[in-house]
């Protein structure tokens, strides 16, 4: 067996220490060593966007990031989007508006959309398309995904006005 790497990082807000075989990608560490299977894989070559997670707030393809490069960093996965027992507005909107069909690409879309909204709370439709262009979805034809992102923005706005 290969020797193990030891890494301390923050995962979905929780300080976490993990040991794993040093060749593993962040995707594999999350799924296999941290018991967080919500992050999916469609190619493991950086082509489909299904494995996107937020690394220090930025969307990255976790299949292209080595686990050993994540020491001291902050990772957010789909499991970390809900807070205080409440789904993130993006999650509610995706579920309500048909933006998740098979749901396999959904975690990647959700975290990528969250990164966009964290930086640009009011993107145009084209900015949404640009931001999500690295994520492939074979089910929806994307339109309901765009609408869900826009609906989440409206929900966030109305919540913050309250």
């Amino acid at each position: 067996m290969a020797p193990h790497a030891h890494v301390a990082l923050t995962v979905n807000g929780e300080p976490t220490a993990v040991a794993f075989a040093p060749y593993k990608t962040l995707l594999e560490v999350l799924r296999e060593d941290l018991n967080l299977p919500g992050t999916k894989h469609g190619c493991e070559l950086g082509e489909c966007g299904a494995c996107a997670v937020l690394l220090d707030g930025q969307p990255v393809l976790s299949c292209l990031v080595l686990g050993v490069d994540c020491d001291g960093r902050d990772v957010t996965t789909v499991e970390g989007l809900a807070s205080d027992g409440r789904l993130h507005p993006l999650q509610d909107a995706f579920a309500d508006l048909g933006a998740a069909q098979c749901g396999y690409c959904t975690p990647g879309f959700l975290v990528t959309a969250k990164a966009l909204l964290d930086e640009h709370p009011h993107p145009t439709r084209h900015q949404i398309q640009e931001a999500l262009s690295g994520c492939l979805c074979r089910c929806t034809g994307y339109q309901q995904i765009f609408e869900a992102v826009e609906a989440a923005i409206a929900t966030t706005d109305s919540r913050s006005r309250r």
Binding site: G38, G42, C102, Y104, L136, R138
Partner: protein, 820 residues
């Protein structure tokens, strides 16, 4: 209606947005081992020797399997049981599995693959229909209709030759539809284990757990009662997870031998080799029309490049010629189909199964006919739309038809009459129509049992559990199940738990293919729920002293319609019924009506009812680069009744998306390596980066209209939506390009290079067309003559055909509906 027809979050929506949906690769079991497959590096060869001794000795390797371990063949269709889990003596395409390694982890298994030595003796490689039709030997399989021809079909309904002679115009056109693949984002995965009783369990990303169940029992020579298949929610299927697969059989065998769980997850490259995608089809349409556009007769010939195995290919072959008649009235019709074996990954069913290819040809030809007759293409179609409740020339019973309304809706929405042939050069719009099955009328293996079954368990808590073998592949089948039950029982969808796709726990549903689930499972669910409602009504009626027919089930209550305050809660109603009848459970089932077709081959095409679609696509064509931009698509779909409009819209838009990929960029194509590098026939680009599919930036605006005219055969009137809306898009794109720049691209994908080539030809005064010209010589058998209904036919063939090949059929061959 409280639930049906109202846009609603799907019942599994929360799981999908929280990452809790448990896909096959998310299944992790204690002591689990990992499997990798060694795949053939050559396209066609005899296996001379496999030496796995070094792999077996590799630290961490638990087991190496080869073809010797899998003597029994299997396959999805009874007529083509031509697959082995691992190759026996012969490999037939680059990617054909040869050996399997089971090891402590994936990396170890992967390393050990390199330690297996395989000696191949190369055989002649067949790269396409010309090769396979031209050379009988070596045969890729030792069965089939001749040489390397897998299947030959020849059916004639009426005197087509006379009808063509009597026409004012006869159009003859040849088209080519390139193969493409499903590309689900989830790679196929499977985990097999022995359960605590020692019986086999398989979790797999399959659309058809029932057929996998049958195949495993056969291939492993086990009692089916000791095999349990659990279909995990599929991360996209589109037809690509409808066959029993090598890797499923392999991990089951390994788990049985090792008594440890064994998992496999395919790489993306391997998914391209599993394929079962769209057949490349060369086709010729001869159509006779009167001056007013009326069709007098049609002859369709198709040649399918089937790849290396049978898969659904016999059905696919029939499907290329089955549905032409259900859209437009065609009084005489002839179909000849030929599927050949080649040394490429096997083709099979992809969304639309066998019908998109010929729909492409038919709808482009109609565009050409309209132009020649100086008719508006929409007007032409409105004149020839088939009538509802009709038996077609090939004995398909058509139910409701909303096609005329679909055409009117899209032409109005797109302001068609103001724009067709009137847009500036470089911009254009095109129209096309289609129809599709709401479920295949016959099962894959012949029997008279139900196609879908539902069981309900009613609980004192007020909760209901619905059990059905249907498989959730993203389309929302769990939601349909729950919605139908909730509507009948007057409770909320969240009160119902769906248990689906588990051959031990759920009654048989044949699977998520042929757009059958909503109609068949939906009807079964309604029947089960109505039976439960009857039990509850009896008990509540007695308690309240109110006649049964006055009771209303709504808002989690059962109450008197004449005094809504007099009633009980749903859970009280269950308690009353359980007191009266004992433990509560009901069943429902659905069996399609018997087909009118009683000729050999008439088993493919019948459906309880058909959906209809019309679409208009707008294009901008850059004449200097050939680049095609699609800004807008208008589509109207005759769905009968929309059960959950949110999901229905998703199916329509998803179909448009997938269709645009096929129309403009997607192709599963192959190239030969140079002779010094083995001359092998290899996939051009088995990766998601190179196999181009549309991204968020490529997707046009889609304007969807639903035509709702409830069909009495569907649950609450519903027809299918998962596949039909894909069909008109490809020909509509081609017709729009003609409108934009005056060139005909008679093949897909329609690439900028082809547009430029056609524009150059046009500028040089040559035919402004890119597409196939020739059609190969096929040894067509004598046609089976079936007189159409209006010539006094009864669905049987006129002349007894020569004895079927390899079949010991006796008696009235001609009157037997043969399934595939």
């Amino acid at each position: 209606m409280k639930i049906i027809g109202i846009p609603r979050r799907r019942v599994d929506g929360r799981a999908k947005v929280t990452g809790q949906t448990r896909f096959a690769d998310d299944v992790v079991l204690p002591r689990m081992l990992h499997c990798k497959l060694l795949r053939s590096t050559v396209p066609h060869a005899r296996i001379v020797r496999i030496d796995a001794s070094r792999a077996r000795a590799h630290p961490g390797v638990h087991l190496v399997l080869t073809g010797d371990d899998f003597p029994i063949s299997y396959g999805i269709l009874p007529v083509s049981q031509d697959e082995h889990a691992l190759a026996v003596d012969r490999v037939r395409f680059v990617g054909d599995p040869v050996a399997a390694v089971i090891a402590r982890d994936e990396l170890t298994a992967f390393e050990a693959l390199d330690l297996i030595a395989v000696d191949y003796e190369p055989l002649r490689t067949f790269s396409g229909p010309d090769d396979s039709l031209g050379h009988d030997t070596p045969r890729i399989h030792d069965y089939g209709d001749a040489g390397n021809i897998h299947k030959l079909v020849s059916l004639r309904f009426g005197d087509v030759q006379a009808a063509l002679s009597a026409a004012d115009h006869v159009f003859e056109d040849t088209f080519f539809y390139e193969g493409n693949t499903h590309l689900p984002i989830e790679q196929h995965a499977a985990v097999a284990a022995k359960d605590p009783e020692g019986k086999l369990v398989l979790w797999s990303s399959t659309q058809t757990p029932h057929y996998v169940h049958r195949a495993l029992a056969k291939a492993l020579a086990m009692s089916a009662a000791h095999v349990r298949v659990i279909a995990t929610p599929n991360g996209g299927g589109f037809g690509g997870k409808s066959d029993p697969f090598n890797h499923e059989v392999v991990v089951c065998k390994a788990a049985l031998l090792l008594d440890r769980p064994v998992k496999i997850c395919l790489t993306r490259e391997e998914v391209f080799y599993c394929h079962r995608g769209r057949h490349p089809v060369l086709m010729r349409f001869e159509t006779g029309v009167k001056r007013d556009g009326t069709i007098t007769g049609m002859r369709v010939q198709t040649v399918l490049d089937g790849g290396a195995y049978g898969s659904y290919g016999v059905a696919s072959t029939f499907y290329t010629g089955a549905l032409q008649t259900v859209t437009y009235h065609i009084p005489t019709y002839e179909f000849r189909g030929c599927r050949v074996f080649t040394n490429k990954p096997p083709c099979g069913p992809k969304r639309g199964h066998g019908t998109p290819q010929s729909r492409f040809g038919q709808e482009i030809q109609l565009d050409k006919i309209a132009e020649r007759l100086a008719l508006d293409p929409a007007e032409l179609r409105l004149r020839i739309v088939e009538q509802p409740e009709t038996l077609t020339a090939n004995y398909l019973h058509v139910g409701t038809i909303g096609l005329a309304e679909c055409i009117r809706r899209v032409t109005r929405a797109a302001t068609w009459s103001e724009r067709f042939r009137k847009l500036p050069h470089g911009r254009g719009i095109g129209l096309a129509c289609s129809s599709y099955l709401s479920g295949a009328g016959l099962p894959i293996y012949w029997n008279d049992m139900p196609h879908s079954g539902v069981q309900l368990k009613l609980d004192r808590s007020g909760g209901v559990t619905a059990f059905c073998g249907a498989t959730e592949i993203g389309q929302g089948s769990d939601d349909v199940l729950v919605a139908c039950v909730a509507e009948v029982l007057g409770i909320d969808p969240i009160d119902i738990r769906a248990v689906t796709g588990d051959t031990d726990l759920t009654p048989v549903d044949l699977g998520s293919y042929s757009s059958r689930v909503t109609l068949m499972m939906g009807n079964a669910a309604i029947q089960a729920a109505e039976r439960a409602r009857d039990l509850l009504a009896d008990a509540v009626s007695k308690k309240l002293g109110v006649p049964r027919d006055r009771l209303v089930f709504a808002e989690r209550r059962v109450f008197d319609s004449e005094d809504t305050t007099a009633g009980v809660s749903f859970s009280e109603a269950v308690c009353l019924a359980e007191t009266m009848f004992g433990t509560l459970g009901t069943t429902g089932s659905y069996t399609p009506p018997r087909s009118a077709a009683r000729f050999k081959g008439g088993g493919v095409g019948p459906s309880p009812t058909y959906s209809y679609t019309a679409a208009i696509v707008e294009v901008d064509v850059d004449q200097s680069t050939g680049w095609i931009h699609v800004p807008r698509v208008w589509i109207a779909h005759d769905i009968g009744r929309s059960l959950n409009p949110t999901l229905v819209r998703g199916q329509v838009e998803g179909s448009v998306y997938m269709a645009l990929g096929e129309a403009l960029m997607e192709e599963q194509t192959f190239r030969r390596l140079p002779p010094k590098l083995s001359n092998a026939l290899v996939h051009k680009f088995p990766s998601m980066l190179e196999y181009k599919s549309p991204t968020t930036l490529d997707m046009p605006e889609v304007f969807t209209e639903l035509v709702e005219n409830p069909d009495p055969r569907g649950p609450f009137g519903a027809k299918e939506v998962g596949q039909g809306p894909l069909l008109p898009i490809m020909p509509a794109v081609a017709n729009a390009i003609y409108d934009a720049v005056g060139v005909r691209i008679d093949e897909v994908p329609i690439t900028p290079e082809k547009v430029l080539r056609a524009l150059d030809a046009k500028a040089a005064g040559k035919p402004a067309r890119v597409g196939p010209t020739g059609f190969p010589a096929v040894p067509w058998p004598a046609a089976l003559e079936v007189p159409p209904p209006w010539e006094g036919g009864d669905g049987t063939a006129k002349v007894k055909r020569e004895k079927g090949k390899g079949k010991s059929e006796s008696g009235k061959v001609e009157s037997e509906a043969v399934r595939r």
